[in-house]
């Protein structure tokens, strides 16, 4: 590719992972051309979008040169020479990692997250670190300590969150694919808002080692990609048991690409009427109902199901996740890493450091979690939430004895305006209404594009599967994607 050739750059940056891999294998372009094109694209559009907190051009180009040499000597690793963007809550050796928080500014991790190590072992090149709500706490990426990310489809709107940087980067062709993390919808909802694919693996499928902890019983790392094929490819590579994370499941990474046949004849798809509630944007409901008919036309059986405890998922989620967060974030004490603000005593040192370093949403969630765990309130809030969590999980256990996957909208609305919900924490919480149950119950889920609203903003549908049921959600998502054309419409930047 010739440098500065905008058309060639655009062609290269529009590629997903599988396409880039095929092009590299066929010798159509070099590995060096890929990060070069991505970095040019970032240079051109990221001043507007702010998807990246930092890029690593020198390291990326050096790794690409090496990949070209390795390919010449017969190396055929699956991601050899393909650039990937990494959400900044994932640790990367030698590359500053902040989790979007000023309290971690300047922190350079001494080791990488297992998922990142596995991508690199497969030959991938780290392109840079993407913006996130601070410690992944948010649904819009507005809570980043370093300024919001903007939606490539309309820069006045949010990209969703908390993996908004990763979603915007992939949607805007700044990166072929990215890793995000999903604690209550943070991979699926931004994928939906940005018109791309986001996969949350089953809890325990992907190691959380090196993922900066938020809600430890809920957090999972997942791919954010342009296609279902790419999501399957990346999940295969990052999945698997890890001695560094005792909450990984002792199962081998599945052969997910084999599920991508387009055949869903006889597959049973559950439709929970509880998910089609008042307050859902009519265009979102219409698009998802049209998609349901489409699945039926592909030979799937549409089955009405009940998830009677749906309404309780959000309140349970907010009690559980804030309680876990308040414990996880106790480590930011200004002693071992991160910001340190002097105080008169050791306790004052903690108070001053944390008061100065955390942003408003993080403080709010730490306060809520601390309250829910405090003497006199533990039984009424935290323990009660864990009991209701059991009921929510039982709803899904029951449903999955009858259906293969469950279909719903990913989010009740399309992308909202920057600033629209920032002063109303409860309104912000409601954008996660369809996604949090999957985390509470340990399910897998995927968001795929299923239409656009009148303003041209993308709409996503969510397919949920049982724990370790990734094969099913990918099979159905692929069949839908390949028989519709939503993925072909791209944002103009």
């Amino acid at each position: 590719m010739m440098m500065g050739d905008q058309k060639a750059t655009k062609q290269l940056t529009s590629l997903g992972v599988a396409e880039a891999r095929a092009g590299l294998a066929a010798g159509q372009f070099t590995s060096v051309a890929l990060p070069t094109a991505c970095l040019e694209r970032i240079e051109r559009v990221d001043a507007t979008l702010h998807a990246f907190l930092r890029t690593t051009p020198d390291e990326a180009l050096a790794a690409a040169s090496q990949a070209d040499r390795e390919r010449a000597s017969g190396d055929a690793r699956p991601l050899l020479g393909i650039p990937i963007a990494i959400k900044d809550v994932l640790m990367t050796t030698g590359i500053e990692t902040t989790a979007g928080s000023r309290i971690l500014r300047g922190f350079v991790p001494p080791y990488s997250a297992t998922a990142v190590q596995k991508l690199q072992a497969a030959g991938a090149i780290i392109l840079g670190k993407t913006n996130t709500d601070e410690f992944a706490m948010g649904s819009s990426t507005e809570n980043s300590g370093f300024g919001p990310t903007r939606n490539p489809w309309d820069p006045e709107r949010v990209p969703g969150g908390s993996s908004g940087g990763s979603a915007a980067a992939v949607a805007a062709d700044e990166a072929p694919a990215a890793l995000g993390t999903d604690t209550g919808g943070s991979v699926r909802q931004p994928a939906s808002f940005c018109g791309i694919v986001g996969l949350k693996p089953s809890y325990g499928r992907v190691s959380r080692y090196g993922l900066i902890a938020y809600g430890s019983s809920l957090d999972q790392i997942g791919p954010i990609t342009k296609t279902v094929t790419d999501a399957a490819l990346i999940l295969e590579l990052i999945a698997g048991a890890d001695p560094h994370d005792s909450t990984t499941m002792p199962v081998n990474a599945p052969d997910l690409s084999a599920a991508l046949t387009g055949d869903i004849e006889g597959m049973r798809i559950g439709i929970p009427e509880e998910y089609f509630v008042e307050g859902i944007q009519p265009e979102v409901e219409d698009a998802v109902r049209t998609a349901i008919d489409h699945f039926a036309s592909l030979g799937a059986e549409i089955v009405p199901i009940g998830l009677p405890n749906t309404e309780l998922a959000l309140p349970v989620y907010y009690l559980v996740v804030t309680a876990e967060a308040s414990a996880n974030l106790a480590r930011y004490d200004g002693i071992r890493f991160g910001l340190s603000v002097d105080g008169d005593s050791i306790f004052d040192h903690f108070r001053q450091t944390r008061g100065a370093g955390f942003g408003p949403e993080v403080k709010r969630r730490i306060m809520l979690g601390t309250y829910a765990l405090s003497a006199g309130y533990y039984d009424a809030y935290y323990l009660k939430a864990q009991q209701v969590r059991t009921l929510i999980k039982q709803d899904f256990d029951r449903a999955f004895t009858d259906v293969d996957v469950i279909l719903s909208p990913t989010s009740p609305t399309t992308a909202f305006r920057i600033g629209e919900k920032v002063d109303d924490p409860l309104a912000m919480i409601l954008t996660d209404i369809f996604t949090t149950s999957a985390n509470l119950a340990g399910l897998c889920g995927i968001s795929v594009p299923c239409g656009f609203d009148a303003g041209g903003l993308p709409i996503g549908l969510q397919l949920l599967g049982p724990s370790l049921g990734e094969e099913k959600i990918l099979r159905s998502a692929y069949a839908y994607e390949q028989s519709t054309e939503w993925r072909l419409r791209r944002p103009v930047l």
Partner: protein
């Protein structure tokens, strides 16, 4: 439901967060609003329901008792704001109990 400023101050102290008066007032309203919403869970009869602290069908995951490579000391203290001879340095603790 609205928390008093004193209740918010107490929680902030438990969480070791220095908050301004403006923050105390803001959180008093917002936390009350969110807790009111969260109180929905209290209307559910859970007398016979066990809690779910985590969803995995695993328990007592143990590693073999063998020494393994770990982070070298120099790397472990590399990001410390203040360290000395491989140790994290903190200001004196024992004079401050109850402070």
């Amino acid at each position: 439901m609205k928390l008093t400023r004193e209740e918010v101050r107490h929680v902030a102290e438990l969480a070791k967060l220095q908050l301004s008066d403006a923050e105390l007032d803001e959180y008093a309203g917002q936390l009350g609003q969110i807790l009111t919403y969260a109180q929905q869970v209290q209307s559910v009869d859970t007398s016979a329901v066990p809690p779910t602290p985590q969803v995995l069908p695993l328990s007592n995951v143990l590693a073999d008792d063998e020494s393994q490579e770990c982070l070298p000391n120099s790397q472990a203290v590399k990001n410390a704001p203040d360290s000395d001879d491989g140790y994290f340095r903190v200001i004196a603790v024992f004079d401050d109990v109850g402070a």
